[in-house]
Every structure is written in C-alpha cells, then in structure tokens.
Symmetry: C2
C-alpha cells in the first residue's frame, strides 16, 4: 500500500533530508532568541518585541537565476531577495525558514552546499535559518531548482507603501539599473540595517518605503497607487550604476535599494550613509512622472510593468 | 537591457499577479490581528501572545498530488499539511503565507481558484492567508505546479518531540493507514483545535507530540530518537482505517493525526474527543518495537523510513 514513488515527500536516492538536517544542526550557532531550531515539527522563537512582519519570496531556475549559476550565489540571492522585504518594512530580523525543491540529479554534497549558503547568508544578516523543508523532483520530471524563503521580523513602526504624503521628498539608498547584465542580481545589497537606521533616526518623518525589486518605475508606481499620490522623479537625480542610464534604472529590477519618502522637514544629514533625493510627492491622479532638465514630463509608471498584467 | 524573459519574477501572459492580489484582497475578511494583509512588501500581524511557532511545507505535483488532481484539493492539502505542524506543537494559529509556482499553461481563472482554495481553507482553520508570491514557469520548461505554505502560530508551551518520559503512555488522535489509496491524503484532518485542547486540559502531563505525516513507524521513531527512549506499540491497539492493517498504519504517511505521549497519571477522560492509547515509553536503545498479542516483538522504526536515507 505504501507508495513512496507516488506521494512520499522525499524520494531521492542521492539526497537524504535526515543527513542534511543533521549537518545543518551541527553548524548552527545557537541564538538565545531561537528556542527550538530545525529538527522538530516547527521552530520556536522568542516572543517578538513588537508586531510581527512576515514575507515570502521564491527563487526559480530559469526565472531568477540561470541553470549554470553556482549554488552559493543561488542560496545568497534567495535569502537577500526575501530580506529586501524586511528592509522595506524597516523591520528588525527574527529568523527565516526555507524550502528547496531539488532536481533529481542533485547530490547530497550539492544539497548541503545550497543549504550552507542559505544558512551562512541568513546568519550574516542576523536572520538565522530556523527551519525548512526539502523535496526532490521525481526522476521522470525534469523540474528545475526552486527555493522559497520566508522571512520573519518585528517592528513597532512598519513603514508601508500607502503612507506617502503630499510634499514628501522621494529618496533612494543607492544606484540602480543593470542588475542582470552585470550579475549584481545574484548578490543584491541587503538594506536591513539602513532601514532600521532610517526608522530610528527619522522616526515619524519617514513616511513610505518599498524595496526596488521590479524597477524604479514600477516600484514608484506601487507607492503612488497605494498612497493615492503622484511621484515626480527628476531624471538627472536618479543614481545609476556605471554603464546604465535612467531608463535602465526605471525598467530593470532586482536592485533591492530602498525607495522612500520623507517629510520636507526631515534632516537627512543625520543618516549615516548616502541617500539620493530623486523627486517629490505631488497631488493628482496616482502615477509616476519623469521630469527632465527642461521641465519636460513623461509618464513612466508603466516602465518595469511589462510582465503579466 | 531589461530581460523579462530571463529573470523577471513574473512573465506569464495569462496570469496577472496584480489581478490575483486584487481579487484576494477583495475577498479577505479583515481580522483584527492582521494589521496589514497582502499587498505591501510584507504582512504585519499583531504581536503574538507568546513565543512564535513557524514551519514550512511544500506541496509538489507528482510527489504530493497527481497531475489530474483538482485545484481545490491541492490548495486544501497544501494548507492542511502545513497546519499539521502547528498542531504538532500545540500552537494557536496566527496566519500563513503561501507561494505558488504555476505551470505556464495556467489561466488566470485557475490561478485564482487555487488561491481561493488556499484562502478559504486558511480562514476555516483561523490561520488567515496574509501574504504570498506567485511565479510562472518559463514556457520552455515543463515544470509542474508547486506550492509552499509557511504557517505561523504561538504558544507558551510548545510540545516537542524530545520530551517523552519513561513510563509515558503513547496515544494517537485517530485511525491511520491508506491515506493515498483512499484519497484521504488530499483532505487530511486538521488537529489544531484538538492539540490546543490537549495542551489546555493535560498541561504539563502532555509530554511529547508529533503529527503523523511519514507513517506511524517513522514518526514514532522521531519521538524515540529525539527523546532517547524506546516506544513499545501494541499492535492490536493501533487504530486503522477500514480496509487497512497495522502495517499500513506504520508505513503509510499523510495521516496527520497527532501522536503524543502523556504521563501515566494523566486523566484522558477530560479530553473532549476520542484518543487511542497504543503503547508505552520504555528505556533502552532508542527505537520503536511492535508488540503483538503474544508478546512477540518486532523492530518497526524503519518502517516508513524507506525514502532517501
């Protein structure tokens, strides 16, 4: 009656979830906030000091990385993508759980290397890997590698997309554009620390925030739509990576810098890292306009919004 | 420079994540503990009343369901599988996040139906869907449907696998065996309420618990190994579904009943649902033995442990 080839959640000949788990457990550094780590039915974390922040992201072969990408980069990218959502809420990290769906050709060594890259990256951002689940594609299915990472954090003052205010200044934490062609998409910046500093320094003057994952055009539009405002972005002020243009910055994704709005009075000089002021929040029909040096205006909220829809 | 066909996280012609989200948002019933639901960078939940419980599970086409399974059943199974881990810790549910990786042939209607089944099932167990992520396989990859569900809960008294004690009685909340051949694996029981009742009624006399997902043999062994004890299971006491035997109960998985140990003094008559006493916790080398009506003993911890390893 047992049908391990039909629905058992672990059927690989080459990869043992039990051995993976044992290896992960042996390498974990115990944090006092992790009461129970990987190995029981669920993880147990200390009660958070404020409201709970949770977000999940996927990292899929062929979509988020190419088949020949090294495993260290894949694990790192999966963690950093998800971490971007904690940063975007200005949350303090608590921990994360990850799933891996492995191609049937995977070896134990490869599976372990992938988890090691997730574990070490998670530890490096103070968001320890506390649990997970591993499955292996059936041999007759040529499915690619798939990861999901769920991040947990907390904050008394989550910074939403929907709370931009008229007159706000629009800022970004770093240069944008060209993340895929440059390979930067595999190791995007993690702005959790910067987001907590913005939150702690600017307090109520930090109004709205998002991380730039789908391109500045689309992500600015997400703030505009949620807050029911217009964003004017000054073309010449947009920081771009060398070799990229404002158009790449607007269109390309996976930069994972923070896009935020602050009150006109906010003193950005107290922020201990560079920020770039790139626009203002104005009234009118929700949308995003690019303003050039001659005052010419172009609607750009659709840029980056070129998939699905 | 933009390469939506290479790494954008949403490229399907047929499915729009924005429209999915709008539909999910419109159908959500606001819970006072959900401060921010789907649609921002992350969800915001009220600060939990105790330590945080988190677990993640996958539900993969070809492994956990067959390609012709209806979408309602797939969504339900994905939620219930993960919910089993909350039950196993005796946690009160807080909320869940889900990811879907959709075959490129999926239509908007199918995607919506899948999310609707997740949303309604999640609501029915008081564990609302508060966030998620959707991707679509590249058209040139014939990848199957993949779901992941991360469940969040809380409890001051998580019930672990590692805390069984010598002399404990071993109990289970319902009949086992034959979940796949019967189709029951698609709608396993959710024992969250029962687990909370066990926790609240038995208090410190409830020692260890796990949900039976990999077969009674393997899951009993998980308690034995974690607690460094032996479990004696009485063959004639094991409750089996009609048409199945104790061997199916030991070997088959995905029953999602609770297997727990209680002190010898525990008064099970206070429990407002049936429980089945099937064994005892004894000393010796960690393992699981089946004891027949003549006192004959067979090592059975390896049963159900037939994949990977």
């Amino acid at each position: 009656m047992n049908s391990p080839d039909r629905f058992d959640h672990f059927e690989g000949d080459m990869v043992s979830e039990a051995r993976l788990l044992a290896s992960i457990q042996s390498r974990m550094t115990a944090g006092e906030d992790v009461h129970v780590g990987p190995g029981d039915d669920a993880a147990v974390l200390a009660r958070p000091s404020g409201p709970l922040i949770v977000s999940v992201d996927q990292c899929v072969e062929g979509l988020h990385f190419l088949p020949d990408t090294d495993l260290d980069s894949i694990g790192r990218k999966a963690v950093r993508r998800a971490a971007g959502d904690l940063a975007a809420m200005a949350a303090s990290p608590l921990g994360l759980v990850a799933t891996a769906l492995l191609p049937s050709r995977f070896t134990q060594r490869e599976a372990l290397r992938l988890y090691e890259s997730i574990r070490t990256e998670a530890e490096s951002i103070n968001c320890p890997l506390v649990g997970g689940d591993t499955s292996v594609w059936r041999k007759d299915l040529q499915g690619g590698l798939h990861l999901s990472v769920t991040v947990l954090g907390f904050t008394h003052h989550p910074v939403l997309r929907s709370t931009a205010q008229l007159g706000d200044r629009v800022c970004v934490t770093g240069p944008l554009g060209g993340s895929f062609v440059s390979g930067r998409h595999l190791s995007p910046p993690v702005r959790i620390r910067e987001a907590m500093q913005l939150r702690d320094e600017l307090k109520v003057e930090l109004h709205a925030m998002i991380d730039v994952s789908d391109g500045l055009g689309k992500d600015a539009l997400a703030i505009a739509m949620a807050s029911r405002v217009r964003l004017h972005l000054h073309r010449e002020s947009i920081p771009c990576h060398p070799g990229t243009s404002w158009k790449d910055a607007l269109q390309d994704g996976e930069d994972h810098e923070l896009l935020f709005t602050v009150s006109p009075q906010a003193d950005l000089s107290v922020i201990p890292f560079p920020t770039f002021e790139i626009g203002t929040v104005v009234g009118g029909q929700p949308g995003v306009e690019l303003v050039d040096e001659n005052g010419g205006r172009t609607e750009v909220g659709h840029l980056g919004w070129n998939h699905g829809a």
